[in-house]
C-alpha cells in the first residue's frame, strides 16, 4: 500500500480533520479506512472518539475534552507513518432490490428523453454497475455513492420536490443514491428500494459502512410488495458478498 501525503487541520477545540489528496479514489478511501482501523485498534478509545470518514477525509471528534492540536497532530503523523502492514478489512457488497416501474420511477421517462435513450437502457446501466460508498451523511443512512457511468449523468430537476418518498432511488449529476426517509429533494427519481437502509430497531441502525459497495437489481411490483412486508417484519435478508474474501 502506498502512503499518502496527509494534511492535518484543526476543527474547533474538540475535533481534528485528516485530509488525503482531493480526489474520488478507491485507493485513497482504502488508505483512510486502514488508518481508521489502526486508530481504533491501537490508539483511540471508541467511547471517547467518533470517527467520520468521507471521500478524502477522516474527522476525529472527541466526546467532551479539548484537543492539544500541535501535540495530537504530531502523534497522528507518527501513527500514520509507522502504520503496520495493511489488514484485510471487512467490506461488503450489498445487492439491493429496486422496482423501476413507472409508479416509482416517476422521472424515468424524462431522464430517458434527456439522455436520448430508453428507460430499459437506463435500468440496464444502473443495475450493471457497482457503486462505492464514499460517505454517509446529509440524512441518517444517506449514502454518497461513487462510480456512476458517464452515460447516466443528468441535471438535477429545475424544481426540487417538497416530498420525495422514502426508498426513492435517484440520479443527479455524478451521483446516484437512495433517500433513506421522506425528504425534500431535487434528484430525478427512477425507482424505489423496498428495503430500509436505516432502521432504528437494529443495534447498528445502518448496515452499510463507508467503503462498502452497492449494486441494484430490478424487481417487479409483486416482489416489491413482498420484500417491503418482509423487511417490515424483519425477515428480509439482504444479499451481501464479502469484497475482500
Amino acid at each position: 500500500m502506498k502512503s499518502y501525503n496527509i494534511n492535518i487541520k484543526p476543527f474547533g477545540k474538540q475535533a481534528i480533520l485528516i485530509e488525503w489528496p482531493n480526489k474520488v479514489d478507491e485507493q485513497i478511501l482504502e488508505d483512510i479506512l486502514q488508518f481508521q482501523f489502526h486508530l481504533k485498534q491501537d490508539h483511540l478509545n471508541e467511547i471517547e472518539w467518533e470517527m467520520v470518514a468521507a471521500y478524502n477525509s477522516l474527522t476525529l471528534i472527541h466526546r467532551d475534552g479539548e484537543i492539544n492540536f500541535s501535540k495530537f497532530r504530531r502523534e497522528l503523523k507518527d501513527w500514520y507513518s509507522s502504520e503496520a502492514a495493511p489488514v484485510v478489512l471487512d467490506r461488503y457488497q450489498w445487492n439491493l432490490p429496486v422496482c423501476y416501474d413507472s409508479e416509482f420511477g416517476i422521472d424515468l421517462s424524462v431522464v430517458a428523453q434527456a439522455l436520448k435513450t430508453s428507460p430499459e437502457e437506463i435500468i440496464g446501466l444502473h443495475t450493471r454497475h457497482v457503486y462505492t460508498v464514499y460517505g454517509i451523511g446529509f440524512l441518517p443512512g444517506f449514502m454518497y455513492l461513487g462510480g456512476l457511468p458517464k452515460s447516466l449523468e443528468t441535471e438535477r430537476r429545475a424544481e426540487p420536490r417538497l416530498n420525495v418518498k422514502k426508498g426513492a432511488v435517484g440520479l443527479a449529476g455524478k451521483q446516484t443514491g437512495i433517500y433513506p426517509q421522506d425528504s425534500p429533494g431535487g434528484w430525478n427519481i427512477i425507482g424505489n428500494c423496498p428495503v430500509p437502509i436505516f432502521n432504528i430497531n437494529n443495534d447498528d441502525p445502518c448496515f452499510v459502512n463507508v467503503g462498502d459497495r452497492i449494486a441494484f437489481y430490478q424487481i417487479n411490483k409483486g416482489q416489491y410488495e413482498l420484500h417491503k412486508i418482509e423487511a417490515e417484519v424483519g425477515i428480509y435478508n439482504i444479499e451481501k458478498i464479502k469484497i475482500n474474501a
Partner: protein
C-alpha cells in the same frame, strides 16, 4: 406523568445528545443551550444526561399528575405555576394537579424545564432527544403525555443559582475551521470587525446570518461537519450548523463555534446581533 394541555410553539425533549452514530449520518441533537440545560439539571441534582424540555419562544401549558420538583432556566418566559409567577433558576415543588404555564418572552429564545430525575420518554439509539424520524415526533403535541418519576420529597442542596446571561452576550467565541485558510484578508477583516444578524432561517438544524461576505468558487468533496460549524456558501452566505445539523456537508468550514458560543447563539432569534471573536 405530565399531560400537555397546550403544546405552544415548539418544545422538544432533549438530553446531552445521541452519540456514536455520526458515521451513519445521525445528528448529535441534544439541548441547544447545553449550559442552561445543565444548570437546570444540577439544581435538581440530576445526572447531566437526564432529559429536559426545551421550550422555544412560546411555552406550553403542562399539567402534572404526580408530585415532583422542577427548575426552569435559559430564556425568560414568564413561567407561572397555577397562575402565579415563579422564579427561574430555583427549585420548585410540584403537587399533583399543578399547572405550569408560560407567558411573554422577556429575553433569550430557548427556555429549559428540568424535572427531578429527568423526563422518562422513549430512548432511541441511546438518547431521548427528539429528532424526527429517529424519534416518532419532532416536537410535543397537544394532549400527549410525558413520563417522569413521582418524587414526593427532595431537599435541594442549592436552592437558587445565578442566571446565565447569554441573551446579553453577542460575542461568539470561534476557533479555526478546516478551511479557514481559504479566507482572504478582506473576508477576514469583515468577519471579525462587523456584527451579523440572525436570519429568519434559524432552527435546531442551522442558523443563517443575513449579512454576506465575499463568496468563493471552491469545489470540495463532502466531509464531516459538527454542531457549531460555520459554513461559507459560494454566494458568501454564512450558515452555522446547530445541534440537529447534518453530519456531512460540501461547503468550506471556515470557523468553528465553541460549545459556549453554540449556547449563546441558541438564545438568539431573528434579527439579533452576533459577532465572531477568535479565541
Amino acid at each position: 406523568m405530565l399531560k400537555v394541555v397546550a403544546s405552544g410553539f415548539f418544545s422538544t425533549v432533549q438530553d446531552i445528545g445521541r452519540f456514536n452514530f455520526r458515521n451513519k449520518g445521525v445528528p448529535v441533537s441534544g439541548a441547544m443551550d447545553s449550559y442552561s440545560a445543565a444548570i437546570a439539571n444540577s439544581l435538581l441534582e440530576n445526572e447531566s444526561s437526564d432529559a429536559v424540555l426545551e421550550i422555544t419562544m412560546t411555552g406550553p401549558t403542562l399539567e402534572f399528575n404526580e408530585p415532583t420538583y422542577i427548575a426552569i432556566t435559559g430564556a425568560e418566559l414568564s413561567a407561572e405555576l397555577n397562575g402565579n409567577g415563579i422564579k427561574a433558576y430555583e427549585v420548585h415543588q410540584i403537587r399533583q394537579g399543578d399547572i405550569l404555564s408560560f407567558g411573554k418572552l422577556i429575553n433569550g429564545f430557548r427556555c429549559y424545564l428540568a424535572i427531578k430525575n429527568g423526563f422518562k420518554t422513549e430512548e432511541v439509539l441511546g438518547s431521548r432527544s427528539f429528532y424526527k424520524p429517529i424519534t416518532k415526533l419532532n416536537c410535543i403535541r397537544d394532549y400527549m403525555e410525558l413520563n417522569y418519576d413521582a418524587v414526593p420529597a427532595f431537599t435541594p442542596k442549592i436552592a437558587e443559582v445565578k442566571a446565565a446571561p447569554f441573551h446579553k452576550v453577542s460575542g461568539l467565541e470561534v476557533q479555526y475551521g478546516p478551511e479557514y485558510g481559504i479566507l482572504s484578508d478582506k473576508q477576514l477583516e469583515i468577519l471579525f470587525s462587523k456584527e451579523f444578524s440572525v436570519a429568519k432561517e434559524n432552527n435546531r438544524m442551522a442558523y443563517q446570518l443575513n449579512e454576506t461576505i465575499d463568496g468563493h468558487s471552491i469545489n470540495m468533496l463532502t466531509s464531516a461537519t459538527l454542531p457549531g460549524t460555520v459554513q461559507l456558501t459560494p454566494a458568501g452566505k454564512l450558515i452555522i450548523l446547530m445541534r440537529d445539523g447534518q453530519t456531512t456537508g460540501g461547503y468550506p468550514r471556515i470557523l468553528q463555534l465553541s460549545k459556549k458560543a453554540i449556547s449563546i447563539l441558541s438564545q438568539k432569534k431573528y434579527g439579533d446581533q452576533v459577532a465572531f471573536e477568535m479565541s
